[in-house]
Amino acid sequence: MNADLRTRLGSLRLPNPVVTAAGCAGSGRELAQFFDIGEIGAVTTKSLMLEPRAGRPAPRMAETPSGMLSTTGMQGPGVDVFLQRDLPWLLSRGGRAIVSIAGSSVGEFGELARRVSEAEGVGAIEVNLSCPNPADPAGRHFADDAAQAATVVQTVRSHARSDVPVLAKLAADVPDVVELAGACVGARADGLTMINTLRGMSVDTRTLRPAVAGGMGGLSGPAIRPLAVGCVFRVHEAFPEVPIIGVGGVRTGTDVLEFMAAGASAVAVGTVNFSDPSACTRVLREFTEALDARGVSRVSDIVGAAHRAGAGV
């Protein structure tokens, strides 16, 4: 028996719920050396800015228990090169594209949304709200202020083509992720992606200096999975109709099952791509086997199952 794996994120229909996480798969080209990129639900491409960007100095990475800290500083080719070179390549291989955008201002988010959604074949736009807000004197992220996050989402929604779903990617290290989610939904986000990396630090005990340049990095990997699942659970409880992409430390097929039971309609594979370039197809296979073993015939039947079991928060 094979379960019906089809899932939906607003108007975006995916053949299965396994997608890549932004920043963990480039634009799909490197992973395509290891598997057919068209087999997975979608590729979420690395956060895109208007101009080419060199990112942060090295060292950019430190391994931590069941995770990693990274701080690449949004290195990327800029929107023009992405639309000319990377997006057509991904589509030509049968891939579906969720394009992550990262503006350094509200205006840049709007411009990116307009240009990206005008391109043919963009399945959805994911709004990376964890970019530092230059208007904030404390250098906080857009996601740190629910009202600011809502302004960004509203701007993106009004600049993007109406038939392209807008997904707001939430941070979890905020006072209240449900409030943040509510603000984004109120600003007409078609769906939510959660969670982004968490701000953390690792100190090199040899030099007694921070292990990555700039001190703070984004923590990812299995270490953050329970936190991510908790966020998905709470937000799904508050907004059961809003589709969610669950992200954070997914390593196996049963991790996907866990996120979906908590309320995700799709699940992104992130840091594990670095350690296992075949992870996406392996996770998809394991997930399919897990559904079969449980006699689940439609993937949509398990979305939010943990809520129906009477769990509370």
């Binding site: 490197e30 598997f35 990475m61 391994e63 090169v81 791509n273």
Partner: protein
């Protein structure tokens, strides 16, 4: 997915042996062996499937042989829990290996005289290179250096393969006391070298590039940057490199390297974002440079 790209394979360990201060591990990996070219590396998962040690460790390939369908050997020093775990592997244990990764050393078309310069375990990838160069009729001379005698890797093999082999140690326990660059100039002159190949720590590569430049000969360097993925997606192993078009880019050591032309690496700026690098803060792109960027094929 492609015939010459990297493969991921779960391969049996043939043996693990001590070599001076290092370990050499041989695995049966025909898919990697048949694709391998000198200078390429493998990345190895450590700690088992449920390990909290998530990231692969990159190792330069030291040797490939047709035995057992194709074996691959790489060298490592125990530096942390990941490499300690590797050192404990035994015959028939399975290792998850991805390779071959990265751009190989370019080989000269004609038989020329080449000096191969290695520092510590960075000497490992120079041995298959030496064999390839010899097969092309090139003269090969070795200069190997390390902190101490037990860290100079495979001196005997170097002597056997090469026309000459010079050794240096920081503590003077083997060969000449000092750095590889203290003897490199003399070797280049005596061997009438046409090209230098080097692998080792960044300060050594910088110094070797200066010496080669002083003699007006080209140098190919293989860098040893830390990396999380080895396949070009994590963007953590970048270094500033000047392209043929004169534009500096933050390029990935894993897929754009690990081998670069020495004079194109901005050694003094490694660990920084040079102000004139493409996409640096305040950088103003031109239409031409964007078109060039767009045309670059990263496949």
């Amino acid at each position: 997915m492609s015939d010459n790209g990297p493969v991921q394979t779960r391969c049996p360990v043939l043996n693990v042996r001590r070599v001076d201060a290092y370990y050499a591990i041989t695995v049966v990996a025909p898919g990697i062996a048949e694709r391998f070219r000198s200078g390429q590396f493998v990345s190895v998962a450590v700690g088992g499937d449920h390990s909290s040690t998530l990231l692969r460790r990159p190792f330069a390939i030291h040797d490939v042989k047709p035995d057992y369908g194709g074996t691959v050997e790489f060298l490592f020093a125990v530096r942390g829990s990941g490499t300690a775990w590797l050192a404990e592997r035994r015959s028939r244990d399975l290792l998850d290996v991805v390779g071959p990764l990265g751009r190989p050393f370019p080989l000269p078309r004609d038989p020329v005289n080449c000096v191969l310069v290695g520092g510590g375990s960075g000497s490992a990838p120079l041995f298959p290179l030496a064999q390839s160069l010899r097969r092309r009729g090139c003269r090969v001379d070795f200069v190997l250096g390390a902190a101490s005698a037990d860290r100079v890797f495979s001196a005997i093999t170097a002597r056997r393969i090469a026309e000459t082999a010079a050794f240096t140690t920081d503590d003077g326990s083997f060969g000449t006391r000092g750095r590889v660059t203290d003897v490199l100039g003399k070797v280049i002159e005596e061997a009438r070298s046409d090209a230098v190949y080097a692998c080792g720590p960044m300060p050594m590569l910088r110094a070797v590039t200066q010496v080669a430049g002083g003699h007006g000969i080209p140098v190919q360097v293989a860098v040893e940057e830390t990396m999380a993925c080895g396949i070009g997606i994590c963007m953590t192993c970048v270094i500033p490199v000047v392209g043929e078009d004169g534009i500096t880019r933050m390029v990935r050591s894993c897929v754009d390297g690990p081998v670069f032309r020495g004079e194109q690496v901005r050694f003094d700026d490694v660990g920084t974002i040079p102000f004139d690098a493409l996409g640096a803060p305040g950088w103003k792109g031109t239409g031409a440079s964007l078109a060039a960027e767009s045309a670059r094929d990263i496949a």
